[in-house]
């Protein structure tokens, strides 16, 4: 299997090279057949990568420890879900996952834009294929995921790093990669437009959507990273300006800038060089971010190890990207002339310009500060570092200015705002700001940054509300409906605009959460059993320390009762888990009591089993949940903006519906709330589970819908299914029932489906089937492509004629869509 994997990688490299060469040649010679074959080869890379991914996932699921990578990052006891996550858990796998995503995205992008941007396609294919080639080259020469042990095959794996065995960590990297990879598509279109000289604004349309998708995933990935840091790392915060975090933030800044400035180009024909530059820079930063985290050029707690060879390869690649892209930009400068000039500084385009400058400045500031230790070492030989306080000092005012602009820009008119419309637009928002500011001051809040932030949040919120209400009023007048129907119609009419406002609302909520950090309190308590102490009104009572274990780990848990003002709020159980084979790296299981106002966050920082003494690090995190909620709102807004141009197109599934994305994302946002509510009071009782109970939990399915056995429910101990079933099981065992009786009792209540016979049923079977399905799907695509090729070879005539018809049909559709979009811009 491993040999097959390696040869598949080699094959992908060859096919990608062919796709590159055929596309470039086809594009230059205007040979339709060459271009077609290039596109076919390009699709084939996606199929090949899918099969290769299927193989590695298969190896993980079956525990093929002959493959080094599998042995490093998984073991047989690992829950199935994390075996999947192991795919991208290490360096080699993450690169392969990258190529896999890129090939799939490229295929989607090319197939959806094939007719619309026919002249661009060859170069789009070539650019993406070249990027794929680079990454596969790295894999083939250096980081082959399919490397096997030559001599002795270990019996079991080392297991995935316990810190990575977390719900968020399983989905955080793919999300971030998805965002990174999606940014390659705009770049490819940008390069294609530059090469062909088709620099009218049509290429932006394809690019905008992909940037939005990439941006959404990037934001999602960053948010998940914050959640992971918050829940798993146990230092009470969520963002530490670590190089790895910064790597994800850099392209986020430039992508955000692009999404704003692209509006100026569409609307006013300005900033054309700027937009191309932003697309290039965003792509460059994704590669740079990968470089930074993979090659060890900056030191970080969670960067991958150091690797000079990788460093060199990446450096060459980055230099090539920069020279080539900017060379093209300079070459095409005459075609990129602005059609208009800035009329006034009090205009929306000026506000967007300011927003762009600030975002770009943020990107370069973060880049500079992240690279500062490396830079100083290279220049002076002394390694100087800058810490989070330095970042905060700069990013705080920058963030506040951006927040102001978020509110101001929508109020300004395009071209030039007159005094009367300024007065009209700003009256309400400014009054709201002043009122909030005064209230905050009166309440005795004295952290200036947070106070200003609260006032600005009010400003932006009122601005957005005002925009909604005004628009709805106008529409109400025009259509004669009630205000709510008008509002829905309004949003449906210009999804991009109002979706954008909703995104802003999400950002405001996130800023609320950030502002709350100004009031963070932490305290360290050393408590003997029976002792208690008070932090910010919460009384923490230490009851006992318990030691328990299960198949995978040993757990030391502090039993804490929390009360406030004499009223008991509940039990909390911060713990330390010692995973087998990783005993030296215990993980802190944080207990969090969530609330809209504040989180009570308790970490078991130290313990002494003999004396039952525990050290708790207690943090009060005000308003932090608004960040996660803000992301939900933001995702909803982006989904709305992403909805296809006409609602009917959505019904025919022409474009992957934004609704699906939103639904999925919202689901994912909601899930963790349920899945990780372990801190909310009801925690698992640390009672040793009896042999019978453990066995039964392995054979009965959790009925929450996860289709997993009770002891492996991905929702964790707070699952509603488990909470219902576990007491029943306990009760049956207490009644002295035997296995068959218990099973019968459960079947009577839940039906046959509650019985689960691992490993070949239910969830497990699905998982076992998954790689084969992936493989089959890949093979099917190969077959189809091969068939189509051979057919085209034989009969070139119909091949040339067929695309004609859909093209004309598309033209009408295209015009309609264009009109629709132009109206949307208002």
């Amino acid at each position: 299997m491993a040999t097959l994997g390696t040869s598949l990688l080699l094959a992908t490299f060859v096919v990608a090279s062919y796709a590159f060469a055929a596309s470039v040649a086809g594009g230059r010679r205007r040979s339709r057949r060459l271009v077609e074959s290039g596109v076919g080869a390009f699709y084939l890379t996606a199929a090949l990568m899918t099969v290769a991914s299927g193989i590695i996932v298969h190896a993980f699921v079956t525990g093929d420890f002959a493959i080094k990578y599998v042995q490093h990052y998984s073991d047989s006891a690992q829950p199935l879900a994390y075996k999947f996550a192991s795919y991208w858990g290490g360096l080699d796998g993450s690169i392969m996952f990258w190529v896999f995503l890129l090939s799939v995205f490229g295929t989607i992008a090319v197939s959806t834009n094939r007719e619309r941007h026919r002249e661009l396609i060859p170069y789009v294919v070539a650019t993406i294929a070249a990027t794929e080639m680079f990454f596969i080259f790295i894999m083939v020469v250096n980081n082959d995921q399919f490397d096997t042990f030559l001599t002795q095959v270990p019996a079991d794996g080392k297991g995935l790093n316990p810190l990575l065995q977390n719900f968020y960590m399983a989905i955080h990297p793919p999300s971030l990669y998805t965002g990174f990879v999606a940014m390659t598509i705009p770049y490819a279109f940008g390069i294609a437009a530059l090469v062909t000289g088709h620099l009218d604004d049509s290429w932006l349309r394809a690019v905008r959507r992909w940037t939005m998708i990439g941006w959404l995933f990037l934001t999602f990935g960053l948010t998940l990273g914050m959640l992971w840091a918050y829940e798993e790392l146990g230092w009470g915060g969520f963002w530490g300006w670590d190089p790895v975090e910064n790597a994800g933030l850099l392209p986020w800044f430039t992508a955000t800038a692009f999404l704003h400035s692209v509006m100026v180009q569409e609307r006013r024909g300005m900033l054309r060089v700027w937009n191309v530059t932003l697309v290039i820079v965003t792509f460059f930063l994704t590669i740079f971010g990968t470089f930074m985290t993979r090659s060890g050029v900056v030191q970080s707690v969670h960067a991958f190890g150091e690797d000079r060879w990788l460093m060199t390869l990446f450096s060459i690649f980055m230099v090539v990207i920069l020279t080539f892209s900017f060379g093209l930009v300079i070459y095409r400068l005459p075609l990129l002339k602005s059609r208009h000039e800035l009329d006034s500084w009090v205009s929306r385009e000026a506000a967007f310009l300011a927003n762009n400058w600030i975002l770009l400045f943020s990107a370069f500031f973060v880049l500079f500060a992240t690279m500062f230790p490396t830079l100083t070492e290279a220049i002076t030989g002394e390694r100087l570092t800058v810490g989070p306080p330095f970042f905060n000092k700069w990013m705080l005012p920058i963030g506040l200015i951006l927040l102001v602009l978020t509110g101001v820009a929508p109020l300004l008119a395009w071209r030039k705002s007159t005094v009367s419309n300024l007065v009209q637009s700003f009256t309400w928002p400014i009054s709201a700001t002043l009122v909030t500011g005064a209230t905050v001051y009166a309440l005795g809040i004295r952290v200036w940054a947070s106070g200003i932030c609260f006032a600005l949040c009010a400003f932006v919120t009122v601005t957005i509300l005002q925009e909604f209400i005004r628009g709805a009023e106008v529409r109400k007048g025009a259509t004669g409906t009630d205000i709510f129907t008008a509002m829905i119609g309004l949003v449906g009419r210009s999804r991009r605009r109002y979706g954008g406002y909703i995104v802003h609302l999400g950002i405001v909520l996130m800023f609320l959460g950030f502002a709350g950090q100004g009031y963070k309190q932490d305290e360290q308590l050393l408590l003997k059993p029976g002792q208690q102490s008070t932090v910010a009104g919460f009384t923490i009572h230490h009851n006992a320390l318990t030691v328990t274990s299960d198949d995978q780990k040993q757990m030391i848990t502090g039993q804490v009762t929390v009360s406030r003002g004499g009223k008991t709020l509940g039990e909390m159980a911060p713990a330390k888990w010692f995973f087998n084979k990783h005993e030296q790296e215990p993980t802190s299981e944080v207990a969090i009591r969530r609330g809209p106002g504040e989180d009570l966050y308790i970490v078991l920082a130290g313990y002494d089993v003999q004396t039952q003494t525990a050290t708790y690090a207690v943090t009060i995190n005000p308003l932090i949940n608004w960040i996660w909620l803000g992301f939900g709102v933001l995702a909803f807004g982006t989904g709305l903006a992403l909805l296809p141009e006409s609602a009917f197109a959505f019904a025919t599934l022409k474009v992957p519906g934004g609704a699906v994305t939103t639904g999925l994302v919202l689901l994912l946002v909601l899930l963790p709330g349920v899945a990780r509510a372990q801190g909310t009071g009801q925690t698992v009782s640390p009672v040793q589970r009896s042999e019978l109970r453990r066995e039964m939990e392995g054979q009965l399915m959790c009925m929450c819908g996860c289709r997993a056995p009770m002891n492996n429910c991905p929702m964790g101990p707070s699952c509603h299914g488990l909470q219902e079933q576990q007491p029943k099981l306990e009760a049956y065992i207490a009644q002295g029932m035997n296995r068959e009786q218990i099973k019968a009792a459960f079947v009577q209540e839940y039906g046959e489906q509650v019985l689960l016979e691992p490993p070949n049923r239910g969830f497990n079977r699905l998982a076992w089937l998954f790689p084969y399905l992936m493989g089959a799907a890949g093979a099917a695509v190969i077959a189809v492509v091969a068939w189509r090729w051979s057919r085209k070879e034989e009969q070139p005539a119909p091949g040339a004629a067929t695309p004609q018809t859909p093209a004309t049909a598309d033209d009408a559709k295209m015009r309609e869509r264009l009109n629709d979009e132009l109206r949307d811009l208002d």
């Binding site: 290490g90 020469v141 707690v301 960067a303 500062f372 570092t385 800058v386 330095f390 790296e585 130290g606």
Partner: protein
Amino acid sequence: MSAKTLKIGTTFLVLGLAFAGLMYSTLSEGTEYYKHVDEVMTNPAQWEGKRLQLHGFVVDKSILRRPDTMDYKFQVQSNGKVIPVRYSGVVPDTFKDGAEVVLKGRLGPDGFTVDPNGVMAKCPSKYNPDAPTGKAGS
């Protein structure tokens, strides 16, 4: 040169200078020297009072903890040079004998004082423990 270019040029210059100035002033407060124990100990007087990130290894059996408190005393070494360290607060899970640590704090005449939460221990196995580092190697 037209008036417009001049205006733009001046704006950029002023903004650029302002940023550079601000950056310089904040940098000098924000920076810390990243040093290994032996580098510091060759000339301790030079480093006294400066903000340091000290890289070293915890000396075996040197960790002392005052009972029922979170006050620690231990020693870090690299290449044979040793510095006594004082710290009060929570230590990371991986802080133990022989651990590779980075300590944030200041050097004084009687040893190194670590800032609150200034102990960072590197994982014994990194994210990518002992991966094949490739043919070119490092």
